[in-house]
């Protein structure tokens, strides 16, 4: 391994990511941490700013025909890949095709797409059969997978297989031979990258790199990361656990602040296919008795700045947030009434299989609260302490719980995934085609369709209210609360911004 010179070491940013970076294909593998690393190495055509508005990034200008069906894009000057080749329209078209195969908005666009192709080296055209007003948002969004632009030969890889080359278009190069998956990933500044002139804001604006080298050091133990940060062995920790924050705050050489204002939405999902939760009364009984406060304290801690209850399926603080129809969560908790409702639903004591992943701390904490809640409701809890890998496989089984299925599992979503129905897979209620749990609610589906047709923000809000009510009536899933996370860094680092992913442009390190 090459030795790092003293000068370069001073300008190396050492970062502890939220989890292990095991692979590095942002279209094939959609974990958050893969997206975060990919944002350094690949660029996008558009990027959302901190108001969630799409802004041009690799595109210099775009043109849309009067009927909304033909989009023509012109790329910026001077765009190059890390191997020195210029970014051509062909590369963009191939990358978009691969992305469309895996992204839910991309799939919708592909279904409407008549043709997409290069016009010349720097222009490409996308012709649709029906207008899709949110096209730019789809290309700009932070939710995975993002529409990263790769060389054509790499983008030609089957979207269900991993790429094996990592030639990027973004501000940092991935240093492949220093990669130790599960331990370390190294990025170096790409000299040929030409950032935009505007100031950076999330994925928009000029991605000016102020450090030469970034090392991602994977630390699975929060206590070790905390000690390393205090000792100056790392510079920036993406997700310190909230219990350690007071300690970090007390150190004069550290800064702690909220990481992502869009936060996360905790949830548990009940299986609509099998008893007892195939009966909406049983699902409502659980919601009547559950306390989002308990869930949030358990998952995140007592610092009330970090969480709030939400009688909604939309991220608090986002434009579509509404509590319409959420009385079932806002009313005072009534375990007795819940028990009666449960009895009405003909619950006869059958075991309720709860899958609880032991290797995910927030999920594990929420699982224990649920087990206690269901016991208090008089249900027969079958607590399956497994790992996230087992949850991933078992939740996909539609078989009855006794034959390898399930009744309930816990998870959480990024707040940016729950701002609109656009990419909100967890909210869909189209039965067999829905996310795990397979809720079936025509009312919810109707409102989602209405939202896509809505033109103004006012219209969207009205639809969102009805959608929220329908989703609560049928209990598509149970939101357990909205929570934020912190990030922490040493005072030698400046320029750290809040956002749904860590943004490394504009971040500098003094010695």
């Amino acid at each position: 391994m090459p030795a790092v010179s003293i000068g370069a070491a001073a300008n190396t940013l050492r970062f502890v990511p939220q989890s292990n970076l095991a692979n590095f294909d942002p279209i094939w593998g959609t974990q958050y941490v893969v997206r975060n690393a990919s944002a350094l190495v690949w660029d996008t055509l558009y990027g959302v700013d901190d108001k969630l508005q799409p802004q041009r990034q690799m595109v210099a200008s775009e043109d849309v025909s009067a009927d909304g069906l033909t989009w023509t894009f012109q790329l910026r000057d001077g765009l190059r890949f890390h191997d020195g080749e210029p970014v051509l329209a062909r590369d963009v078209v191939a990358s978009l095709k691969r992305w469309c195969a895996r992204d839910s908005m991309g799939l919708m666009i592909r279904a409407l797409s008549a043709e997409i192709g290069a016009v010349d080296d720097r222009r490409f055209r996308w012709v649709l059969r029906k207008p899709f007003p949110k096209l730019l948002f789809a290309l700009a969004k932070t939710t995975t997978p993002c529409a990263f632009i790769m060389p054509e030969r790499i983008a030609a890889t089957d979207p269900f297989k991993q790429i094996s080359e990592y030639v990027g278009s973004g501000p940092m190069r991935f240093v492949r031979d220093e990669w130790d998956p599960g331990a370390r990933a190294v990025f170096e500044r790409s000299a040929g990258y030409v950032p935009r002139q505007e100031p950076p804001s999330w994925l928009a604006g000029g991605k000016q790199m102020l450090v030469d080298r970034i090392e991602w050091i994977v630390m699975s133990e929060p206590a070790t990361a905390a000690a390393a940060l205090q000792n100056g062995e790392v510079d920036w920790w993406e997700s310190p656990i909230s219990d350690l924050v007071p300690l970090l705050r007390s150190k004069s050489d550290l800064v702690v602040d909220i990481a992502d204002p869009l936060g996360r939405v905790g949830s548990f999902r009940m299986n609509h296919l099998h008893p007892p939760f195939n009966d909406v009364r049983a699902r409502r009984a659980v919601l009547m008795a559950m306390s989002q406060d308990d869930y949030m304290r358990a998952a995140v801690g007592n610092d009330e700045r970090l969480w709030k209850p939400m009688a909604s399926f939309f991220t608090p603080g986002s434009p579509l947030y509404t509590e319409e129809g959420g009385e079932i969560l806002k009313a005072p908790r009534d375990v007795d009434a819940a028990k009666r409702l449960l009895a009405d639903s003909n619950y006869c004591g059958e075991p309720v299989t709860c899958l609880v992943a032991q290797d995910q701390p927030e999920v594990k904490a929420m699982g224990e609260i649920t087990a206690d809640l269901l016991k208090r409701l008089g249900m027969n809890v079958d607590y399956a302490a497994v790992d996230w890998g087992t949850v991933g496989a078992r939740r996909a089984q539609k078989a009855p719980p006794a034959q390898g299925g399930w009744n309930m599992f816990h998870t959480y979503h990024g707040g940016d995934d729950c701002t609109t129905p656009a990419n909100y897979i967890a909210l869909r209620a189209n039965g067999d085609g829905a996310w795990f749990g397979w809720p079936d609610s025509p009312a919810v589906e109707t409102e989602i369709a209405h939202w896509f047709d809505a033109k103004t923000l006012e219209e969207q809000r009205v639809v969102a209210g009805r959608l929220n009510r329908a989703a609560f009536d049928d209990v598509v899933f149970a939101p357990t609360g909205f929570f934020l996370a912190y990030q922490a860094w040493r005072k030698t680092i400046s320029g750290v911004a809040k956002g749904p992913l860590p943004f490394f442009w504009g971040v500098s390190k003094s010695t």
């Binding site: 929060p222 350690l244 358990a298 007592n302 290797d359 302490a385």
Partner: protein, 300 residues
């Protein structure tokens, strides 16, 4: 040969016991001669009593979460403080004694049983010896941690899986021990004589093998018990241990380890109890070894 008649010095030879009075009863004689045995046995008995009497010792239900009370320091209402879900740590530690002791004793029993049978077969049935020993080698190559994770992912994490995984991993050491005893016995002329005389194998085992093997097995079993309790903690650390709904010292420590710098009491109390228990089991083992058969030292 001579060692059988004189007990090994060890700690027992310390000039503590007064020589002026000869202790009369057998028990007091044991206590005076082998303090570690007495101390270890007493401590263990106390801990087992604590485990058995858990509901009567001022405890509450250890599995009920109360998030509003999370991570409180020790106080009059929560003697050892509370954990990250607001559960009373004192109750969890006391009830945890049940689980940790159960794991330790069960593993010791199972490993001794399996190991003895396997070791005996390997030592007496010559053609199987090489094969069995290589299998034991292979088994020793799989750390209990990996076995336990495999079991956990096969079904789910539970006490039974933890016990099974650790027992399987500890079996080879007992097997080797018993095998060595059997092999050394086979060289003895009186065994040959007994076989020639037509003594049934069961009688040979009962009369000759067992008396010689019991001591080392018993000693090894105590060490296995202690190791098992530690391994249980390690399994909880990895995430393949007993689910926290059932408290064990291992999972209390594992759950609280991220907070050791800010809330050390979460780890401190279960660590203390675990250390004392492991200490007492080790003392018991050392004492047994000194008292029963000093020649058993060193053979594993």
């Amino acid at each position: 040969m001579s060692a059988a008649s004189t007990p090994a010095p060890g700690i027992a030879a310390a000039p503590v016991a007064s020589e002026t009075q000869q202790p009369k009863s057998g028990l007091s004689r044991i206590v005076h001669r082998y303090p570690p045995l007495a101390l270890g046995a007493t401590l263990l008995a106390v801990l087992m009593a604590i485990a058995a009497l858990a509901p009567l010792l001022g405890t509450v239900d250890p599995s009920v979460p109360s998030p509003i009370n999370r991570t409180l320091p020790p106080s009059a209402s929560f003697w050892f403080g509370t954990d990250m879900l607001g559960r009373d740590l004192y109750s969890r530690v006391i009830y945890g004694a049940r689980v940790s002791l159960t794991v330790g004793l069960s593993v010791a029993l199972l490993a001794s049983l399996f190991g003895s049978i396997i070791g005996f077969v390997s030592g007496s049935v010559r053609w199987s010896d090489a094969f069995i020993m290589r299998v034991m080698d292979g088994l020793m190559a799989i750390p209990p941690v990996l076995l336990a994770i495999a079991f956990m992912t096969l079904t789910r994490a539970s006490i039974a899986n933890v016990i099974l995984a650790i027992a399987i991993a500890e079996t080879p050491s007992v097997a080797r021990l018993v095998r060595a005893t059997v092999l050394s016995l086979r060289e003895q002329p009186y065994i040959d004589a007994a076989i020639v005389a037509g003594t049934p194998p069961a009688m040979i085992i009962w009369r000759h093998l067992l008396p010689n093997a019991v001591a080392p097995i018993a000693v090894q079993a105590t060490y296995i018990c202690a190791a098992a309790m530690i391994i249980e903690a390690v399994l909880s650390f990895i995430g393949a241990g007993i689910p926290s709904v059932i408290p064990s010292w291992g999972n209390i420590m594992a759950d609280g380890r991220a907070l050791w710098q800010v809330k050390p009491y979460i780890i401190f109390f279960p660590a203390l109890f675990l250390s004392v228990t492991v200490l007492s089991v080790n003392l018991l083992g050392d004492g047994l070894r000194d008292a029963l058969d000093p020649r058993a030292t060193g053979t594993l």
